[in-house]
């Protein structure tokens, strides 16, 4: 018996949240001149692309978009039962003196973002690194916070957030589900 879970955001709400984040990024950086959006693989990459499209419409400017795989920077490879596949990283411009906005789907412990910041630093010395996430679910283990948040969702560690995106899963939807161990 699997519970369908609770829908946190529907397609229309995801669209609005991303649109608001795009406005906030432009406002915070006083324009879009030196912005580079970097999506964290896998779900962050399509989100970064969508944010770039919104910003391009707002500002009539082309925003460089990269994708970053953080597998080789993880701090838990020793603990994992499996070795995760290394996916593509593609950074189209030199990041030195740019305002880099990291984009991810869910902010949780903060360890992925720590790894992503280390990776970004290997491509140059950005002026700033900012963080945009669709969901902040709490339970941070590192001193990291997001600059742009789609929705704050209080969760228990025994729950999982399932994100479905048009690009990868055929529809936009975010669902909160109990994990098998956490299920009653």
């Amino acid at each position: 018996m699997t519970s369908p879970g609770k829908v946190l955001l529907q397609a229309e709400e995801i669209r609005r949240a991303l649109s608001r984040i795009a406005h906030e990024i432009v406002e915070h950086n006083r324009g879009a001149e030196d912005i580079v959006l970097v999506g964290i693989q896998a779900r962050g990459a399509p989100l970064a692309r969508r944010l770039a499209n919104s910003i391009e419409t707002l500002e009539s400017i082309v925003v460089p978009v990269g994708r970053l795989d953080i597998t080789l920077y993880r701090d838990d490879l020793e603990r994992e039962h499996f070795r995760p596949n290394v996916r593509e990283t593609q950074i189209p411009v030199d990041l030195t003196e740019k305002n880099v906005v990291l984009v991810d789907d869910v902010l949780y412990t903060g360890r992925t973002i720590r790894a992503a910041m280390d990776a970004v630093m290997d491509y140059g010395r950005p002026r700033t690194i900012q963080l945009a996430v669709l969901i902040d679910r709490g339970h941070r283990e590192l001193p990291i916070r997001a600059d742009y948040v789609g929705k704050n969702v209080p969760t228990s560690r025994a729950e999982e957030i399932e994100l479905h995106l048009l690009e990868t899963d055929g529809k936009d939807e975010i669902i909160l589900v109990p994990t098998p161990e956490g299920a009653v």
């Binding site: 499996f82 070795r83 290394v86 996916r87 990283t89 593609q90 280390d118 990776a119």
Partner: protein, 315 residues
């Protein structure tokens, strides 16, 4: 899918899925080599021992760079043949390495099977960097990657391996690697260097055929892999003369025209230019010999990444 094995000894027992995983991981590693800082912290705190019982420049330095790019600690041990006895002392050396806390061992040995012995004794992962005439799996993987990068896929291609098949671990590992990925392999050389054990391999593996005539073998080839001819083969009477060998089995422009128009030319190095290959072909558009060397580092990074920690997980 993870790689559920501790060691890389040869490709004969690899599935095509496992080889595909290695090649996909290699593609991700090539991106690191294009960055301003070619180093990731993945294997920080891991110790890799490079143990070469046989001379090698390119393979040893390729493994060394791969280890350093992943931030592993590297120890180079060049064991000279004279100071090491066979059998028991190899096991003694393994015990010492175990006690020193090596996580992975890269081993080249003049004796076929030596890395298998090491793998059975060591808790650490063992990577075969060439054992006797038997196997050289990391070379086969970089050859596969180089062809796939140029052609998109291996399946359906015709590979011709030319020269001293008998003494070639590169040929033996490649016939497994290319075969598993769906290519046809033709082994071509003089009868003295394509001996009964090679004929036995060809009988058992449906994708392998034998030819003693390069002009015939090269027809419609997609990839032509020339092997290095070692000059001591003349002294031992296996070949009459270099000139005769070059005339019958050397790769020339005239012969190359019989292959497919955009066929690739490979060589594991070091080359005898003017013997197995003409200099014009070695530096031609079709030659991917320098790509092979460059891809070697990325392939070995992929091997280290996928094998690291497997010994704990499997045990």
């Amino acid at each position: 899918m993870p790689l559920e094995r501790k060691d890389l000894l040869d490709l004969d027992d690899f599935s095509s899925e496992e080889i595909t995983l290695l090649l996909e991981t290699t593609a991700a590693m090539t991106e690191i080599l294009s960055r301003p800082i070619r180093r990731v912290p993945t294997l920080r705190g891991k110790t890799i021992v490079n143990m070469f019982y046989e001379a090698s420049t390119r393979t040893r330095s390729s493994f060394e760079l791969a280890a350093k790019n992943l931030s592993a600690d590297l120890v180079n041990v060049s064991a000279s043949q004279s100071s090491v006895e066979k059998g028991e002392s190899l096991i003694d050396t393994m015990r010492t390495l175990q006690a020193l806390g090596a996580d992975m061992l890269v081993m080249r040995h003049w004796e076929a099977g030596a890395p298998y012995l090491a793998a059975s004794w060591l808790h650490a992962s063992v990577i075969n960097a060439g054992d006797g005439w038997h196997a050289h799996p990391s070379q086969a993987l970089l050859d596969l990657y180089t062809v796939q990068e140029r052609r998109g896929a291996i399946e359906g291609l015709k590979l011709v391996i030319v020269g001293d098949i008998l003494h070639s671990r590169v040929a033996r590992s490649n016939l497994w690697g290319f075969g598993k990925m769906g290519a046809r392999v033709v082994l071509c050389g003089p009868p003295t260097l394509v001996t009964p054990d090679i004929l036995g391999i060809a009988e058992n593996l449906p994708w392998v055929t034998i030819s003693y005539d390069l002009d015939e073998a090269i027809a419609d080839a997609d990839v032509v892999m020339m092997l290095r001819l070692q000059r001591e083969r003349m002294a031992s009477g296996l070949l009459p003369s270099l000139r005769e060998y070059a005339a019958r089995f050397g790769l020339t422009q005239k012969r190359m025209r019989r292959a497919r128009p955009n066929a690739l030319i490979m060589h594991p190095g070091p080359m005898n230019q003017g013997v197995e290959i003409t200099p014009e072909l070695a530096y031609s558009e079709q030659a991917v010999i320098e790509d092979q060397v460059a891809n070697g580092v990325a392939v070995r990074m992929a091997i280290f990444y996928l094998l690291a920690g497997t010994s704990e997980r499997i045990a």
